[in-house]
Subunit: 110 residues, 2 copies
DNA sequence: ATAATATACCTAGATAATCTAGGTATAAGG
DNA sequence: CCTTATACCTAGATTATCTAGGTATATTAT
């Protein structure tokens, strides 16, 4: 994310990526754009952040990857969520809900 | 926070601390307990996390500190939020809202 | 009385998430 | 043809938090 946001919430990027991949398989560059679009410009992932995350998700077998070329010749690496990835997503979503509710509870008093 | 939570949301601890201090001045150990209680055990700050945060908040002049002894002789360091701290809290709260709404938007599809 | 636990503060070094700042290569648009 | 956008990648820096210690005193249990 952009530097200013590091103070707010790192640590859930993998979850966001898995959430997008649940809908359909996507390639890295596309994920960055989609996250930006769907979050109304709030998330602006750097490539240096996303690609390592994709690689580690792949190593954990939460996603699989396949290479494909566009008709014009561009090479893309498509990522597809696995059953384990869907499970991990559910777990992370629950963690997120617990966490954000707790934050809200604390902030309510302020 | 507990290790398992590092994957979810580091980066907002200072905000939570400021939020507590808005209500009343508190000492470090008390902050840890209060955060745990008010968050229903979700936040379990380690001393090694909190004390450095308090020191940096003090250096940024978002809080001031004063030492006080209890009748029984225990030494405590009370922290009090400053005007700048209140301003910073508001800014962080807004950041948080923007961020959590964006996350919710992404997760909604999953 | 004494031992164990809780309170209350602290710091140095490790770990891990993200960013910075590069790099390569090809396609599309001016 | 030159610039910009697309598309992938990595090494090293930065930073938040944790781990794992440390000190000292008060309270509670034996």
């Amino acid at each position: 994310m952009a530097r200013s946001d590091r103070s707010v919430l790192p640590g859930s990027t993998a979850m966001l990526v898995l959430a997008l991949l649940k809908a359909r398989e996507m390639y890295g560059y596309e994920i960055i754009e989609e996250l930006e679009k769907r979050s109304n410009q709030v998330f602006q992932l750097k490539e240096g952040t996303l690609y390592p995350i994709l690689h580690s998700l792949e190593k954990e077998k939460l996603v699989t990857a396949r290479d494909q070329e566009t008709p014009s010749g561009r090479k893309r690496r498509y990522y597809h969520i696995t059953a384990a990835g869907l499970q991990a997503l559910d777990a992370k979503k629950e963690e997120w809900q617990t966490f954000s509710q707790a934050v809200t509870a604390i902030l309510a008093g302020a």
